[in-house]
Symmetry: C2
Subunit: 314 residues, 2 copies
């Protein structure tokens, strides 16, 4: 199995249900008026540990046996998967070893510690993250839970779009951000299985546009020196996520850093909710390409709300 099937996603939804929030879906009259759209925001910023990552992490950790969990779990993550995995591991009474890049935001580091995660810092490159993780795994015997390139993670992330589809009128488009592609591939699968007439589009920072390049050229292009404030979207696509995206995503739009800030501020100001820059790329895409969205009913996944309030981008 290279793609989670319908049953796997439904099973994930059932498995994680006691451990996650069924997050609310918000609308905004003023944003709808501004863009001539009907937007439904799936608020994963209100998810446990502040981001959709709790879905995948819970699904992955709760799929494992006691024996498999005996030496704990391990991962590298810039933040949200780290928190989510630390939380999920604690719920199963096991350890979480987390490799974090040294430029991770303060709040995310503190939150991982608060969930009992054992942190090892490394320089902020993919190579350093992977090699440091390997060392940690060799030293501890922990089981790696990749942040996105893992079928149970993808199935877990798919449950956000599943709930969105269940709780909204028919959607023309679901928009999700793309980094490593865990959320996007899960979203695309849920739309494919549960709302086949809904298109799935992605938004990505121009300054970390490896998914756009890979998607357009139909060949894997890694993320090299991404330079975006959307820290959740700096990673490359994966062996599992990229083919799902090629199969089931219709379009990827890229957005400027200026529009990410503008969209983030609009969401804060008009909707009175806190979302992180990675969550703002979808509205930024609508702002940059309004003609593509006019009179459309759009589901938007707000991926998370873990922001360092002492270091805002405006």
């Amino acid at each position: 199995m290279n793609q989670p099937d319908q049953a796997t996603i439904l099973q994930a939804a059932q498995r994680i249900q006691p451990h996650i929030n069924r997050t609310p879906i918000l609308t905004s009259e003023s944003l709808n008026a501004m863009f001539h759209t009907s937007m439904y925001f799936k608020c994963e910023n209100f998810q446990k540990a502040g981001a959709f990552k709790s879905r995948g992490a819970c699904n992955a950790v709760f799929s494992l046996t006691e024996t498999q969990l005996q030496q704990g779990v391990a991962t590298h993550s810039s933040g949200n998967h780290a928190q989510a995995l630390a939380r999920a591991a604690r719920l199963r009474n096991t350890k979480a070893h987390i490799v974090m890049p040294s430029d991770s935001s303060r709040v995310k580091v503190e939150a991982v510690r608060a969930y009992g995660g054992i942190i090892t810092f490394c320089v902020p490159t993919l190579e350093a993250r992977e090699s440091t993780l390997l060392t940690v795994i060799q030293a501890t015997g922990a089981l790696e839970i990749h942040p996105y390139d893992n079928l149970q993670i993808i199935a877990g992330q798919a449950t956000a779009a599943l709930e969105l589809i269940e709780d909204t009128p028919p959607l023309h488009i679901i928009l999700a951000p793309v980094g490593g592609g865990g959320l996007l591939s899960g979203t695309a699968l849920s739309a494919h299985y549960f709302s086949p007439l809904t298109q799935v589009w992605a938004a990505e920072p121009q300054q970390a546009d490896d998914a756009y390049q890979s998607f357009t050229q139909k060949t894997f292009i890694p993320s090299i020196q991404p330079n975006t404030m959307a820290d959740g979207l700096r990673t490359s696509l994966g062996i599992y996520t990229f083919p799902i995206i090629l199969d089931h995503v219709q379009r990827i739009l890229t957005v400027s850093e200026a529009d990410i800030i503008l969209a983030m501020k609009l969401i804060w100001e008009r909707m009175k909710i806190i979302v992180e820059p990675s969550s703002a790329v979808c509205l930024a895409a609508i702002k940059q390409h309004p003609e593509l969205f006019t009179n459309k009913t759009i589901g938007i996944i707000l991926s998370g709300g873990n922001v360092d309030l002492d270091d805002l981008p405006w």
Copy 2:
């Protein structure tokens, strides 16, 4: 009638229902764990025009006849009542003349303009506000809708606590901020009529503690040179609001500016929602007097979310 009765509040709820949001009630595991309480936050930051003031303004404006509304309505307000009244007037196709102190926050001024309000600025003292308003009323013939010392305003604000009571388990305490006392007196009446075993406590900035002084000394003390970032809480109690507060409020706690900032940041960080400083005084009171709230079930009214994101207090 010097106090809205039960029927008046229920009538207000029915009258404004088409024009306001029934706002959600949020909880936070992490804040509950931090303070050993069970808190239910009534999110008036998600209210139309970003604050509970839409309740009172709609109730007042929709109680008036076409003839009464012919020359429009007028008020002085530092911001949220101004927006709410401008919006309510527009819904009734009449004008709103708004006197605003010159230190009103940028977002609030812009929002009043966006709702079509006609603004006259004045120096930020109560005297200047009142004298400027008088001039405006003489020039236009508009009908004054006082921000809080008006029975229909009080009945409108009371509907927030009414909904809170309807949507939560039995509450030991409802906590509301106090400025002019419109929200607090309405809250106290709703608790009195609809949940008589629930105490109503208020929170107020130490640096604008006229309500605390008035309440303690049982005699009206005006607000003189209040010096708090909670701009909604700088006003004095009113002829209608003060007696209701004396009758039906059990306790007023004052809080420091430092704790207002800390509480505001905690709500932003943990709950991922935007609230203004005036909304944060209730959690600040719990932080300053934790022993009073341990193991209590508490309803907290988050009054609004209109914050200038370019001018945060941290």
